[in-house]
Symmetry: C2
DNA sequence: GAGTGGTCTAGACCACGCG
DNA sequence: GCGTGGTCTAGACCACTCG
C-alpha cells in the first residue's frame, strides 16, 4: 500500500468517505469535474482514482448519468480489509493462531514442482508441512514448496510464525499474483490424523502457485481445510476471470 | 467485449501476439514509445492498453527496465479464454451438456433471499432447481433464485438451456460482478439422489450473488458439484481480493 | 547518462442519459 | 440541450534500472 501517488491518495480518501458513510450506497458521487476542482487536480487523475474504486466494486459509473456508490459497498469494504496476506495475519482477532511445523526439509524438486515453480531439477526447495490451529483446534494442514533460489534463510522457527511476513518484511520482497484451484476431496490419513476428521468428513483443498510482483513463482502449496472451518470468498469483476473446470 | 475503443483494440492485438508466440514468455515488449509510434497514437493510450494485459497477469512492467511477457502467459491465456459465462457455454466442447429442470416455480422470497437480492418481501422470485449433465453423467445441482423485478419472461424451456445467454442476448442486459463463497460439504439427500454420490463422497458448493453491470443483484444461487467433477480456478492479482474465512 | 515506465496536466471531442 | 463519464492527445517531469 504505497501512498505516494496522487490518484492513490485520492482513491483512499474516497474509500474513507464511503467507509465513514459520507457517501452512502446508491448516492451520487460529485462529478469528475467537481472532484477535480476539490482535489486541485485534473480529470484524468480523478479517473485513475475512480478506476481503483471501480475495480474494487465500490462504485458504479454510468456514462450520461454519473457515478454512484455500489449497493453492497459496505460488505465489499469488509472483504477488502481482510485482503489475503497469508493465513496468520488473516485470522488475527478470530482466536489464538498457533502453528506446528510437522516437517521442514530441503530437497530437490519433483518434475511437477519444477514445472509449477519454473525451476530446474538442480534448484533445491524447502518442503514444509504445517498444522495451523485456532484456539488449539486444528484448522488447516498446509504443505508448501518454495525454491531456495527465491526464498533464502528460512528456518523452522520462522515457519512456526508467518512466512509471508518474513518474505515481505525481512527479505523485502513484494508479493504479486496467484493462481488457485479449489476442490473438495475425501480425507486422507494425514487429514484424519492431524485435522482430527472422520473418514466421511470432507476436505476443502486449495492448491495454489503464488508469484512475486516481478513474476517469479515463489510458492507452490496445497492447503487442506476442515470442511466445517473453512471457505473461500471470491470477488469477481470484469477484470479478474475465474473459470470452473473439470 | 466491445471493440470500440482504440486502447481495447491495441490490447487485443498485443494479446494475439502473445498467443501467436510473436512475443514469447520473458521477452521484452517494444517500449511504450515504440508502441505509440507503431499504432500512431499517444503513450497514454498505449498505457491503457498495457493496463489490460497487466490486469490479466500477461505482462510484467518494471520502471527502468521495461515490460516483459509473464512467464506463465500461455496458461493464463487458456484460463482467460474460458472466462465465466455461465456453465452452459463454459462446458461446450467438453462433452454434451444437458440440463434437466427439476423445479420451476414463482414464489415470494425468504428474508435471507430478500437481503441477498436487495428486494422487498413483495417482489416475487423464480425458484429454479436444475441438474446439469455432461455426456449424461450428472455433474452439478444448481439452485437459483432470481427476482422478477429484474429478470422477466423466463420459462421452463429457457431454463433447460442457458439462462445467461437469455439474459444477455434476449433481455439485452449486461452481467457484472459477483461474490462467491466456496465450501466443502457432506452430501444431502438431494445430492445422493441426483448427483448419484454415496454418503461419504464430498460436495463442492459454490454459493454466489451475481450482479448486472448497473449493480442490481439478479441471481442468488447455490451450486453443488460432485467432488470428482468440479473445481474452481481463481486468478488473483493486486486488484481483486480473495479472503479465506471461517 | 540514456532509456525505461509512472504520473500528471489542460484541453478536446465523443457517447450516453435525461428532461 | 446539457451534464455526465469515456476516450484521446502532446507534452512534461519524475523514479527507476543498467551499463
Amino acid at each position: 500500500m504505497c501512498l505516494i501517488s496522487q490518484y492513490n491518495q485520492i482513491a483512499n480518501t474516497l474509500k474513507e468517505r464511503i467507509k465513514n458513510g459520507d457517501y452512502v450506497a446508491g448516492q451520487h458521487l460529485p462529478s469528475q469535474k467537481e472532484l477535480a476542482d476539490e482535489f486541485h487536480t485534473s480529470r484524468v487523475t480523478i479517473q485513475k482514482a475512480l478506476d481503483e474504486l471501480s475495480n474494487a466494486n465500490l462504485i458504479l459509473r454510468r456514462q450520461g448519468s454519473g457515478t454512484t456508490v455500489a449497493p453492497n459497498s459496505r460488505s465489499t469494504l469488509d472483504i477488502l480489509s481482510s485482503q489475503y496476506e497469508g493465513t496468520t495475519k488473516l485470522f488475527e482477532g478470530r482466536g489464538k493462531v498457533t502453528t506446528k511445523v510437522l516437517k521442514f526439509e530441503i530437497r530437490l524438486p519433483s518434475v511437477h514442482e519444477q514445472k509449477r515453480l519454473s525451476i530446474s531439477d538442480s534448484t533445491p526447495v524447502y518442503d514444509i508441512l504445517r498444522l495451523r490451529n485456532i484456539d488449539n483446534e486444528p484448522y488447516e494442514l498446509d504443505h508448501s514448496i518454495m525454491p531456495l533460489s527465491v526464498i533464502q534463510n528460512l528456518t523452522e522457527k520462522i515457519a512456526s510464525g508467518s512466512i509471508y511476513t518474513f518474505i515481505e518484511s525481512t527479505l523485502g520482497l513484494k508479493i504479486g499474483s496467484s493462481i488457485r484451484k479449489i476442490t473438495a476431496d475425501v480425507p486422507r490419513k494425514n487429514d484424519q490424523d492431524y485435522l482430527k476428521c472422520t473418514h466421511n468428513e470432507p476436505i476443502l483443498q486449495v492448491s495454489q502457485t503464488v508469484h512475486l510482483s516481478d513474476g517469479r513463482p515463489f510458492e507452490y502449496s496445497q492447503t487442506r481445510h476442515r470442511y466445517d472451518k473453512g471457505g473461500v470468498i471470491v470477488v469477481n469483476n470484469t477484470l479478474s476471470s475465474n473459470g470452473l473446470q473439470i
